[in-house]
């Protein structure tokens, strides 16, 4: 009996080995699912929500929506964003007003946690799919997001839609009547 079981086990083992070889052969003849990256450039559609680069959309008049409030800068966990602002006289009212000078973004340190985009009360920044950024010098990874000569959209920004706040926000707090540091309020 024991002998027969031994023999049976041997054949069972061989059967299982053959099964394994069957699976690999199955995959040998299956169509391959490799996405050929440089060849499919431009053809392959990446998911719209995929985050690869922070950008600041500009409209046709070279206007952006950033008011240099600095919420994104303060919300960023590892100092990826630097908002450099300058005081400028408002052409309409003549009062000095804080406007964006440079919006610097260190791609090399960004972790794509999306706190900045979610916190931005003006939807001034968005993530895009552009992921090809490899460089030879580290410093080139620092990007200036506002285009040269661009300015804040002239129309008074409508009251930003109150997004369903998701808890990560220091920005929307501005619209809820909570105490806000004075230097942040003046931009609105």
């Amino acid at each position: 009996m024991k002998f027969f079981r031994y023999i049976k086990n041997i054949f069972l083992g061989i059967w299982h080995l053959l099964q394994g070889m069957y699976i690999t052969m199955l995959n040998f003849v299956r169509p391959k699912l490799t996405e050929q990256y440089p060849e499919n450039r431009g053809k392959h559609v990446y998911f719209e929500r995929f985050r690869a680069l922070l950008t600041m959309p500009h409209d046709e008049n070279n206007h952006h929506k950033c008011t240099a409030c600095g919420i994104c800068m303060n919300g960023c966990p590892n100092g990826t964003i630097t908002v450099i602002s300058k005081m400028e006289n408002d052409p309409v009212t003549g009062k000095p007003k804080r406007v964006l000078d440079k919006y610097l973004y260190d791609l090399g340190g960004c972790t794509f946690c999306e706190l900045c985009v979610r916190n931005c009360p003006f939807n001034a920044i968005v993530f895009t799919n552009q992921f090809e950024h490899s460089v030879f010098t580290k410093e080139r990874l620092v990007k200036q997001l506002n285009r040269p000569g661009s300015s804040l959209a002239p129309k008074p920004v409508q009251k930003p839609e109150v997004k369903v706040s998701n808890g990560n926000v220091e920005g929307p707090a501005l619209h809820k009547g909570q105490p806000v540091p004075p230097e942040k309020t003046q931009t609105i």
Partner: protein
């Protein structure tokens, strides 16, 4: 239990034993710690979940979380404080709960607390010559004090175990050599293809046979716990993903749950269900990778590629909804970051039958393979008692027959409304640990199947205040991660930053298990056992 304790120890007052955060919290003096710890163990609390060290300012303290092996949701917290900062000394509890040994080493490393009678009190993560104890509040992080070393330190101390004398002040260390001059010692890692990261095992070999295994951690110690103390709660969330990156979403869930519990936020049902689906998808992805890398450790590279291939389907689901492949950044405090993508349901529904079919193929390819079973048979047996004593939770613990699934024991999220089995095996051998992962994938598919058609409508996140501040107190939340129980301890002082955050890593004890089960086996088995335990090193090192 409270009455039991107060009856047994007349020096315990009602004020010392309080119920908080759903568990009994006992404050005790260091001198009485061992006494009460022994009693708690006798009452069936044989699973030491974690030891949390805290710098209270004037003194240093520890919190011991202890759970019942038979019901891992039933937890007791034991708090104690050392009397001074300069020479903090606490009695060890590592003879009561075996796993305490490595936890005490960790607390020693971070806080400098000396645990008398702990047999091996080397630094755990930092190098032996590191100056200062980083998690103390007065730690000086000046890089000039601890510059980047340009060469490896000689492992003088690593080869010697300090033998502690029971002095009160912790002085009087003598060194007991761990290895003979003639021992054949081989370093696996930190850069080694099979170490799943940067674990460093110093292995004493006798020919091909492993005699002792001495793990060294810290090659990826990033000081996350210290960083958390200066971050706001939403900012911490992007670090939890990077602990155990294979179950990032689940870790994040734990932190969110902990904050929500503290702030008493009611999470919308839609978010709860979506979170559960995400967690289970993460678990499947993690198990697929774990299965694949174990097969690769045994030499079957193709199986690994197949595992990764199926994992890509999940990555697609994640990317479409959350925008990230590995770091999904999806759970937030109060809900989820975005609503699910319109294609989400369709993709998940396509994935379930696909995965079922592929599971069959995976079983055909590897499970029955006589070479694989021959290698796994009778190797690395971990008994139930040992598993509990070492705190081995998750699939590896359940392979030994320990029912420790928190999804059953203390259902969180949507787990109380779905029907699934806790997969248990009794052998505790390598094969059990191997096959349990594939079975858990099936169960996860079942959970997803039940939930995917029942995602309730409604908001995907709760209204949360702009600046999140947790009420003062200690909070502890555990979830079932792909590797075991992942715990988050938050001590809040009411600020927008936490006072202390501690993560309980399920992987750390798994390496401890390797130490237990590897000796006596061959080198090849050591690698395979590592694969079967499926630890993730960055989660250990934090």
């Amino acid at each position: 239990m409270k009455e039991k304790l107060i009856n047994r120890f007349d020096w315990l007052t009602e004020a010392d034993v309080v119920m908080s955060d759903g568990r009994l919290t006992i404050a005790v003096e260091p001198a009485k710690l061992r006494e009460i710890a022994r009693f708690i163990k006798e009452c069936g609390y044989d699973f030491l979940v974690d030891i949390v060290g805290i710098d209270y300012g004037d003194d240093l303290g520890t919190i011991y979380y202890i759970a019942k092996g038979s019901d891992t949701a039933d937890t007791i917290a034991l708090q104690t404080k050392s009397d001074n900062r300069e020479n903090p000394v606490l009695p060890t509890i590592c003879d009561i709960w075996e796993v305490g040994q490595v936890y005490e080493r960790e607390v020693h490393d971070f806080f400098g607390i000396v645990f008398t009678d702990n047999p091996d009190l080397r630094r755990l993560f930092l190098r032996e010559r590191w100056k200062g104890f980083p998690l103390r509040k007065d730690y000086d992080a000046d890089p000039a004090i601890n510059p980047i070393p340009d060469r490896n330190e000689l492992f003088i101390d690593m080869d010697a175990l300090p033998e502690m004398e029971s002095d009160e002040d912790g002085e009087g260390r003598t060194w007991k050599m761990m290895y003979d001059d003639n021992d054949y010692i081989i370093n696996f890692g930190p850069q080694h293809p099979a170490m799943h990261g940067v674990l460093h095992l110093r292995v004493r070999l006798d020919g091909e046979i492993v005699r002792t295994v001495d793990p060294h951690f810290g090659y990826i110690h990033r000081g996350i716990e210290k960083m958390c103390e200066s971050y706001t709660y939403p900012q911490i969330l992007h670090l939890t993903d990077r602990l155990d990156y294979l179950s990032g979403a689940i870790n994040r869930h734990a932190f969110c749950l902990c904050c929500e519990k503290a702030m008493q936020i009611e999470v919308p049902q839609r978010a709860v269900v979506v979170r559960t689906i995400f967690d289970e998808l993460t678990r499947i992805a993690s198990h697929l990778l774990g299965w694949g890398s174990m097969c690769m450790d045994m030499g079957a590279v193709t199986a690994f590629i197949y595992g990764m291939r199926d994992r890509e389907k999940i990555m697609d689901i994640f990317e479409e909804t959350a925008g990230g492949r590995l770091m999904v950044n999806y759970h937030t405090i109060g809900g989820v970051a975005k609503d699910i993508h319109p294609n989400f349901r369709r993709r998940v529904k396509e994935f379930i039958p696909y995965m079922r079919k592929m599971l069959k193929e995976h079983h055909m390819l590897f499970t029955g393979n006589p070479i694989a079973t021959g290698r796994m048979d009778g190797v690395g047996r971990l008994s139930l008692e040992k598993a509990i004593a070492l705190g081995i939770t998750g699939p590896s613990g359940r392979a030994s027959g320990w029912a420790n699934d928190l999804r059953k024991a203390a259902p969180y999220a949507a787990y109380d409304r779905v029907d699934f089995e806790q997969v248990l095996r009794s052998g505790g051998e390598t094969f059990d640990r191997y096959v349990i992962r594939l079975h858990e994938i099936e169960q996860s598919l079942r959970i997803i199947e039940q939930l995917i058609d029942n995602i309730p409508e409604g908001p995907y996140t709760a209204q949360v205040k702009g600046v999140i501040k947790l009420p003062e107190g200690d909070y502890f939340q555990r979830v079932e991660n792909a590797r075991g129980q992942f715990g988050v301890h938050i001590t809040s002082r009411g600020d927008k930053n936490p006072y202390r955050v501690k993560f309980r890593s399920p992987s750390m004890v798994l390496v401890g298990a390797l130490k237990e089960i590897a000796p006596g086996n061959k080198v090849a088995d050591l690698i395979m056992l590592g694969g079967s335990l499926d630890y993730v090193i960055p989660c250990i090192d934090r």
